[in-house]
Subunit: 345 residues, 4 copies
Amino acid sequence: MIYFNCDYTEGCHPDILKRLTETNMEQTIGYGMDEHCRHAADLIQKACDAPDADVHFLVGGTQTNATVIDAALKPYQGILCAETGHINVHETGAVEACGHKCITFPTNDGKIEAKQIRDYAKEHFRNGGNEHMAQPKMVYISTPTELGTIYQKKELEDIYQVCREYGMYLFVDGARMGYGLVCKQNDLTLADIAANSDVFYIGGTKVGALFGEAVVITNPELKPDFRYNIKQHGGMLAKGRLLGIQFETLFENDLYFEIAKNAIRQAERITECLTALQVPFTVTPQTNQLFVVLSDEVCDRLSEKYVLEYQEKFDETHSVMRICTSWATRQEDVSQFMEDLKEVL
Amino acid sequence: MIYFNCDYTEGCHPDILKRLTETNMEQTIGYGMDEHCRHAADLIQKACDAPDADVHFLVGGTQTNATVIDAALKPYQGILCAETGHINVHETGAVEACGHKCITFPTNDGKIEAKQIRDYAKEHFRNGGNEHMAQPKMVYISTPTELGTIYQKKELEDIYQVCREYGMYLFVDGARMGYGLVCKQNDLTLADIAANSDVFYIGGTKVGALFGEAVVITNPELKPDFRYNIKQHGGMLAKGRLLGIQFETLFENDLYFEIAKNAIRQAERITECLTALQVPFTVTPQTNQLFVVLSDEVCDRLSEKYVLEYQEKFDETHSVMRICTSWATRQEDVSQFMEDLKEVL
Amino acid sequence: MIYFNCDYTEGCHPDILKRLTETNMEQTIGYGMDEHCRHAADLIQKACDAPDADVHFLVGGTQTNATVIDAALKPYQGILCAETGHINVHETGAVEACGHKCITFPTNDGKIEAKQIRDYAKEHFRNGGNEHMAQPKMVYISTPTELGTIYQKKELEDIYQVCREYGMYLFVDGARMGYGLVCKQNDLTLADIAANSDVFYIGGTKVGALFGEAVVITNPELKPDFRYNIKQHGGMLAKGRLLGIQFETLFENDLYFEIAKNAIRQAERITECLTALQVPFTVTPQTNQLFVVLSDEVCDRLSEKYVLEYQEKFDETHSVMRICTSWATRQEDVSQFMEDLKEVL
Amino acid sequence: MIYFNCDYTEGCHPDILKRLTETNMEQTIGYGMDEHCRHAADLIQKACDAPDADVHFLVGGTQTNATVIDAALKPYQGILCAETGHINVHETGAVEACGHKCITFPTNDGKIEAKQIRDYAKEHFRNGGNEHMAQPKMVYISTPTELGTIYQKKELEDIYQVCREYGMYLFVDGARMGYGLVCKQNDLTLADIAANSDVFYIGGTKVGALFGEAVVITNPELKPDFRYNIKQHGGMLAKGRLLGIQFETLFENDLYFEIAKNAIRQAERITECLTALQVPFTVTPQTNQLFVVLSDEVCDRLSEKYVLEYQEKFDETHSVMRICTSWATRQEDVSQFMEDLKEVL
C-alpha cells in the first residue's frame, strides 16, 4: 500500500534520528530549558529576523493552537477564523474547551479576507462594544490553509492592518508552513510573517520532524508567563530537548526548506497528470494538498494500491478526495501512481 | 418615551408583587426547597401533563441555557442550533465558556429542520463517530425563535425523532413560550412540548414575572444531581421561594396564558397597520416580535417618541428594526404608535 | 417553627417591596443601564468615598465570586483563601469550574494573615516564578468571615500591603458586610475597604434585599469589559432595575446599616444567654453567626420549635450548630428562644 | 556535571531508538490506529492480565492526568487526593483548568488511607449528597508517590473497596510505576493494579521511553469515546506509532521491568551510604527518589559536581533535597557520588 492520504505517514528525516541517537545519553535539564532548545530558538529567531521574539516548542498542532489562544484571550473573547479553519473543524472543540468561541467566516478556498474581518469588528465595536456577544480579539489564519492554498504578502499585511485597527491579535497557524514557503506562488518569508502577526507557529510534525511545533511570539503582550500556559495545557515535554534537537536539525543549513521542496515537486507532478486527465479540482492546487473529484468506482480501484483521504460526498456517484505529498514522498511511488491513474481514468 | 424595543421593560404582573408582599415575612428554608417552589412545580407538572418531570427554577435565560447544556454534555460534545440561536449569538459565548461548541445551521426564519440535523448526525456517525470533531449530542431550538416564529407540532415531532435516532437530546428554549402558545398559528401545547423533548424551559422574565425560568426535565438521564449544576452555575437563589411564588401566581388560573394574549393582540394590531402601510417585514410575523425594514429617516423621526431596537443595516439608507410587544403593552400606546406611523410613513 | 439557621429566611425589608410596587409599571431599558442602577451606583460610590469606582449589580454570591475571580485571573492563575472560605467550601467548585485553583491556608477563625500570604508568594516567586504550579494572583477574604469573625483595619491593611508587594489583587467578599460594619469590635468603614482592596462586594441578599450584591471595583486594571464577564456568567439581569431599586432603597438614609444593627443586637442577646448557660462557642462571637457545641439531645429538643443549622459532629454525642440572626429577627422570637434554652439546658 | 535531580535527564533506552530507526520509513496511518499501537496494547493487556482493558497512549503525565479526570467527571464533581498529589501541586492547575476541584487530604508520606476517603465520602453523602459542595467522584493516588513511597496490596484493595461503596472511581497515576513494581517492599503486580482500580497509567517518560504514558481503562463506564477526550486535550499524536513502537519495545521481554531495577539498585547504594553517614531522610526510602536533609554548605559543595533537586527549606541552614536515580543512572557515577559524599559530610 502507498499512502497519499496525509503528510505524516513516515517517521522523520533521517538526520533527526541520527542526532537523537548521538545525543541520547547526554544529561540535560528538563522542560525545554536545555542547550538544544536554546540553540534551536536562536536559529529560528535568525530565520525569522526577529531577535526579540520568544520561541517555545510544543508537541502537536491542536495543543499549540489551544495553548496560544487560551493564553491570549480573556474568558469573554472569541477568535475569528474561516469556517474551514482547523480550530473550527478538526480539533474536537479544543478551543471551546478552553472557553472561547470560534466566530467563523464563509470561504471557498480556506482563506479569509481583511474586509470580512473589518466588517465584523466594525459592527461589534459600533457603540464601543456589545457585551451580549463574544468580543472579537484574535484572528486565526493558517497558511498554507487546510485546503492547501496560501496567503500572499499583501493579503497578510491587509489582515494585520485590520487587526491593529481594532486591537485584535493575529495568530498564524503554520502547521505546513514549510510547504507554503517553497511553493511557486509564494511571496512570503518567515521574516514577513514575523513582521505581520503577533504570534505564529512553524510546524515540524508535517514537515520532517517526528513531532513538534515552534511557537514564535513577537508581540510583547503575549510573552509573559507563556510557559505556565504550556505546562497547564500538558504541552511541556519533560525531555524538552527532543524538540530542541529536532528543530536544531531542521534549521541548520535550511534543511526545513530543502525537504519541503520535495513535497511540492511531487504534488506538481501529480497535478499535471490529473490536469491532463481532466480530473476536476475543487480548489486550485498551490502546495502539497490536492483536492479532486473522483468517481466512487475510480476510488475503489485506486484503493487497492493507494490510500487517499475521503473528504465528503460530491454527488451521488462522486467524492471529494485529498491527495497529499510530503518531504518523504518517493519519486518512484508518484511515477507508479501516475501510471495507474492513467490506466484507471 | 414609549418602549417597543423588548418585552422586559416593566416590572411584573401586579398579582405577583401582591403575593410577594403577602408572603414577605414568612420564614422558609432556602435554595428552592420551600413549599412555594414545591407548589409551583406541581402546577407546572400538571400544566405539562408530565407528573414525573423534574421542575427547577432559575433566574435568567443565559444562566438557564448554560446550566442545562453543561449538565447534559460531556466535554467533547457539542450542541446543534440555528446560526441565529440565542446561545450562538447573544450570550457572550456562555456555552463555549462551559467548554461546548455550538454547531450551527443556516436559517432564514430562526428555525432549523429535521433534515439539517439528520444530515449532520449521519455524516458524523458515518463510521461510528469521528474523534477529530466535536460530537453532536444535543439539539437546541427556541420556540418562539429569536425571530418571532414558532415550530408547528409536526416539525417538533420530526426533530425529536431524529434526536432519538442518533442518541441526541432535544432542548427547547422557551424564553417566550407563553407568547408562542397563544398565537394564531400555534398547534402545540405544553404537554406536546414535554412529550417531544428531553428538557425545556418556560420563560417567566419576558412573560409577566420579575425574573425566572422554569426548567422541566422529562428525560431521566438528565435528572440526577441537577441541583449541583444549578449551584455551580450561580443559579441557585438563596431565597428560592421568590421564584416559587412567581410561578405559583403565573400557573394558578392560567394567568401565564391570559397575560400572554395581550402581547399577541397588540402585535397583530401593529402588524395590520404596517402591512397596510406596505412596510416590508424581514420575517413573517407570528408572535410578539416584528422585524421590519424602515428608512433611517423614519427611524429618526420615530425615535423622538418611541424606542425600537436596531437589528442591523439593511442597505445604505435602511435598517432592520425590531418592534416588540408584551403582557404589559398598553392598548393606548399602540393606538398612538399606529397613528404616528401613519403620519411618518 | 422559628428559623435561626441562616440570614435569608424572610423576603426583604418592606421599604424595598414598596419601592418595587411604586415603580412596577415604569418602562426602563434593561440590563442595568437604567436610572435606578445609576442612582444606586452613585449612592454606593459616595458611601465608599470612591467616586471613581465602578459599581455593578449581580444577583447572588456564588455568581458574584465566580464572575469577579474569572474576570481578574488568567487561566494559569490561582486564588489564595482560607480553607474555610466560601469559594473553597460551599460553591460546588464554581471557581474551579472557571478554571482556577483555590490555594488554601489553614485557619481557626475563618481569617487568614498577611504572613501566610507573604510566605506563600515569596516561595512561589523565589526564582521569578514556577510554571509547574498555579500562579498566586488574587487573595480572597470575606468579612465577616464564614465563621462570623471580622477583619480589623490593621489586618486588612497588612494583607493589602502584601498583595501590592507581589502584584496580587485583593478581593473582599462582603456577603454579610452590613453586619460586620455595625458590630462592636469593628473599626472599618466602607471607605477603608475601598481604599484597601482592588474589588469587593456589598451583600444585599443576607442584609435586607430580596437578592443582589453590589460589586465595587476600584482597581482600574479590573474595570474594562466587566459587563461582558457578567453577561457570560449569567449574572446580567434583564430587568436590572430590580437591583438598582433595591440598592437605592438600602443606601438612602443608611437603611442598610440601620437594619443590620438588629441582627447584632439579637445575636448579642443570645450570646449572653448562652454564655451564662456555659455553652461553649467554637469561635468567639463577633457578628450575627454563633457557633456553639450542643449535645445531640439538646439539639433534638430544640428542633421541636427551632431550626438551627448543623455544622459538623463535635464528638460522639455533641454537634457544632450555627445560630444565626438577621435584619428580620424578631425581638420576641429571641426572648422565647432564650427562655427555652434555659429550660432545655 | 552529573545529574541526580530527576529521572528524565537522558533520552531513552537504546533499544527504542534502534526500533524507531528501523521503522522510520514505514508508512502507517496516524493517530494511534496503526499496527505498532495495536501490538503494544496487546502486550500491555497481557502484562496486566486484563484482556478487556482499553489501552491508549498519550505523550506526558500532566496531559494524561487531565484527560483521564476530565473524561470521568461531570462538571460539578471533584477528585480526592493527597495534598502532595502531583495533580494538586505540580500541574499548574491543569485539573482545575478542566473545571474540577482537587479535594485534598493531609499526608506525611505521599499516601492517603481508605479511612480518610471513607470519612469524607460518608459526610458528603450523609443526606444523599450536598449540592453546595463539589461531589466526590474519583480518587487519585500515585504509586510510587511523589515522595517515592509505594502502596501495599492491602492498602490498594482497601481504597478500592471504599470507592466502590460510594460509587467513586479509582485512578492510579503510575508515572514511575516501573520503579515501584521492582522495589523490595513491593507486593503488587500490574494485574493487581488492574483488578483494583478503574483506570491507571503506566509511565514511560520516566522509565526508559523518550516520552509516553500508557492509559489502561478497565471500568467499562470510562471506555466510550475516550479518543475524543484525548484529541480535545491535544494528546493525540499525529504519528501515534512513535508511542506504539516505544511501548512495544518496553513490554517485549520485560524490558520495562529490567531497566527499572537499575534505578532501585543505585538508589539503594546511595541510601546505604547516606544512612552510614547519618544523613536524615524526611521520608523512608522505598524506590528511586530519596529525600534528605542537607546543610546549605554541603549543598553548595556538592553543586560543583552534582545536580540535586531543591525541595524546600528545612530550617535556617538546611534544605530538603531530592536525589533521584533512573534506568540510565551509571554505576560509576554513583560510586563517585558516594565517595564525594563521604568527603563532604
